[in-house]
Amino acid sequence: MSSSSCDVVVEMRNIVKKFPGVVANDNVSLKICRGEVLAILGENGAGKTTLMNILYGLYLPDEGSIYINGKRVIHASPKDAIKNGVGMVHQHFTLVDDLTVAENIVLGAEDFKVYYNPGKLIEKIREFMKDIGLYVEPSKKAYELSAGEKQKVEILKALYRRISVLILDEPTSVLSPIEVNELFKTIRRLKEKGISIVFISHKLDEVLEIADRIVVMRAGKIVGELARKDANVRLLASMMIGASGLSSIEEKFEKNTSTGRKLLEVIDLWVKGDRGEDAVKGVRLSVREGEIVGVAGVAGSGQKELAEAIYGLRPVKRGRIMFNEVEITGLPTVERIKLGISYIPEERVRYGVSLELPIYENIYLEKIHSEKSKRGLLEALGVSPLKKRVMLEYAQHVVNKFGVKTPSLTTVAGKLSGGNIQRLIVGRELERGPKLVIASEPTAGLDIAATNFVRRTLVDMSRRGVGVLLISSDLQEVLSLSHKVVVLCNGEVMGVVIPGEASIEDIGLMMTCSKKMSIEEVEKIWAM
């Protein structure tokens, strides 16, 4: 299918959008046909999301115009966009946790009333869901839902407003593989109903599986457009990252072969989750110098609580954490930082940076601890003067070494793209000379170049004798980088495997709590 011969629903003409220091969209023109799945493919910061945010009325374009069904429109707010039949589901969910699914769906819609009968509403929404063929129990509260269900509700929310174009921004980044399949089924069903889907992604395999037509963006411009039948991984990848980046696709990493003595040892660890439940149940694991130990599991199996406990952010209910043969179970985070533990947290914008602080202050956030010696009175009180020049120099060094693209060091972090924020965090955590790195979802939402960069950096660190605890829901990533992989399910260790020696099927069974290795087997692998 080519865009010239289709029923055009939306046309964006010569869109230009500039932000301080970057041109996010540089004269971009795009057509969306009725009932097609259009993938917009590009690296982080290529301008995909900006373009769709313009269509959805979140940004006004600096230049250019939007036509819907041939009529020129101005989308000054999402309200205008929805009125014209354009809906969007963002990467981050916008549901109200304490409301039911049904209430979430009607909230803010035209026919929403302040007084309503909850029972009737739920029945009405149930009917609506059956009509659409997409079902999430409408009486459930939003906080009870899994990521996949939440996304369905977001989609239903958009459909309830009778939209004809649905934009999905990186919809698979928060989903497990099974949920991704569910999402694809949903997309196909919507397509049959004549709804156009815009699928923003940087994952080649997903785009090839679901899209009818693929538009590739790079550095704010459209660099290619092709039908699925003409596309393949190599071609798309070369368009996406430019010819120069070709060699780095699917980079293979050689694992470090010499590991040293035990660095981190976690013994019978029990940790409570946010709702008071046991999130980590009797976990035992160890990381040696120069070793990468992976933690695999379905999202929400206790990975986050485990990492937070090791870093001192969450109290330990039972068990011990040893670092270099010294117990650190009760130490505050700052002491663990001084001992040489680094943490690359998941959800980088939430836990990793202060969006309003400038780059250089974000980079120095932890380095500041290593300067406090408690010797001087001023330092003990915390009122020692900042050495801005030193901070700037250090930040410049990190920015250069880790390739953070920014207009200047005093730019606030909120102006950076997701990939560059991650580079900043990785740089901050690795440059302060850690002995142990805890990396949580370090490549989530990153493009190929940035992903390879992060992985290569971690492997390099392990070669220099640094221990790495790699927590990731990307099973392929865990298996290809780690020496040993701990499989978690429901907060319990189901088994420990050496990549290449266990079958994917076995690992899958363990991830879903369907198989558990015996203690002897696990001990044997730890002893290796």
Partner: protein
């Protein structure tokens, strides 16, 4: 990126100008309806207090304590806290200074001791809310409002029972001449307190932007989660913010007692202190919680206070109308700042 920051400052400035104009238009409308001449009234409100020597001196003397109580609120906001306890902390500071009216000391010791005791009492009053917040999770808005009233009644009962003025029952003992800050201009109320006030302002600026603890305060204010993940002790930051705030508010109390003629005491019902803490809140909001903004905003509010007498006498606008008009201007000015804080509190991390 200087031009980006400049643009930010300019939009901030434009916001303030639009707010002033809007407030004055609504106030003007009210005056027209009431049958008064708004042009004349506004002229008398602002021009003499900003252009004549005497007016300017009055303006600055009114600005003195507000600068300090504004800093209390600003340091709180920077740490992500809504500390509205400047009022009570200032009462305690004033108490700390005025008790020296009942103590005989070598002359040279009065001022330093008044300063120190005022600062310490202010800090203690601040840190109580800080401890409640950091260790028990008590909402600082609730605790500081309650502490304000506790301080009010402590000071009021001290005035009546412990340190009443022997010749005038409507106030406390006055601090002796040796314990008063020198007047900068004879015949006005402008004393060296304004210098102390500006020094404290510079000190706070330095603390927030040039020291490690200030860096931590700002980081926690913007993103407490990321700060905790970066090993910052969030409790300690909350305590510090309340202590610094209590310090500046305590000094405000000291300035009012030791630096404002004619009483050099605390008057009945704390009438010479009341409201200065909340004026500071307004000033901080108008001044973007930034020391430089606070300085400008406090001069503006000081000018309105100084000009209200002129507005009554020369433009013949009754006091109630003057207060209504001033209230409208202040509300208009506070709206942008309030909206920013509310949206940050509701929106959390973007």
């Amino acid at each position: 990126m200087l031009d980006g920051r400049l643009k930010e400052y300019l939009t901030g400035f434009a916001e303030v100008v639009v707010a002033i104009v809007a407030g004055m238009l609504i106030g003007g409308l009210v005056m027209v309806i009431g049958g008064y001449n708004p042009v004349d009234a506004y002229y008398q409100l602002f021009v003499p207090s900003l252009t004549t020597g005497y007016g300017l001196e009055m303006t600055l003397s009114f600005a003195t304590p507000i600068i300090l109580t504004a800093l209390t609120f600003a340091v709180g906001v920077r740490a992500g806290l809504f500390n509205i306890g400047a009022e009570g902390q200032m009462y305690m500071g004033a108490l700390g200074a005025v008790i020296f009216g009942a103590i005989t000391l070598p002359s040279i010791l009065y001022l330093p001791l008044e300063f120190i005791v005022a600062a310490v009492l202010g800090m203690i009053w601040g840190v109580i809310a800080g401890i409640l917040k950091a260790y028990r999770g008590v909402n600082e808005v609730v605790s500081t409002i309650m502490l304000n009233w506790i301080a009010y009644w402590i000071v009021e009962s001290m005035r009546v029972y412990v340190i009443p003025n022997p010749v005038d029952a409507s106030k406390t003992v006055s601090v002796p001449p040796a314990g008063r800050l020198p007047l900068l201009v004879e015949g006005t109320e402008l004393s060296a307190a304004i210098i102390i006030s500006i020094l404290v302002l510079i000190f706070t600026y330095f603390l927030l932007w040039k020291t490690a603890i200030g860096y931590e305060i700002r980081a926690v204010g913007y993103n407490p989660l990321a700060s905790r993940y970066a090993g910052i002790n969030v409790r300690r930051v909350a305590l510090y913010s309340f202590i610094i705030g209590g310090f500046t508010a305590g000094i405000a109390g000291f300035c009012e007692v030791a630096g404002r003629p004619p009483s050099y005491a605390i008057t009945t019902g704390l009438s010479n202190l009341m409201g200065l803490g909340f004026d500071g809140l307004t000033v901080s909001l108008i001044g973007y919680n930034h020391p430089i903004g606070i300085l400008l905003a406090s001069i503006f509010i000081g000018a309105m206070k100084a000009g209200s007498r002129n507005m009554q006498i020369y433009a013949r606008v009754p006091l109630e109308m003057v207060q209504t008009v001033q209230g409208l201007i202040i509300i208009a000015l506070s709206i942008p700042g309030l909206l920013r804080i509310i949206s940050r509190r509701i929106g959390g991390v973007r």
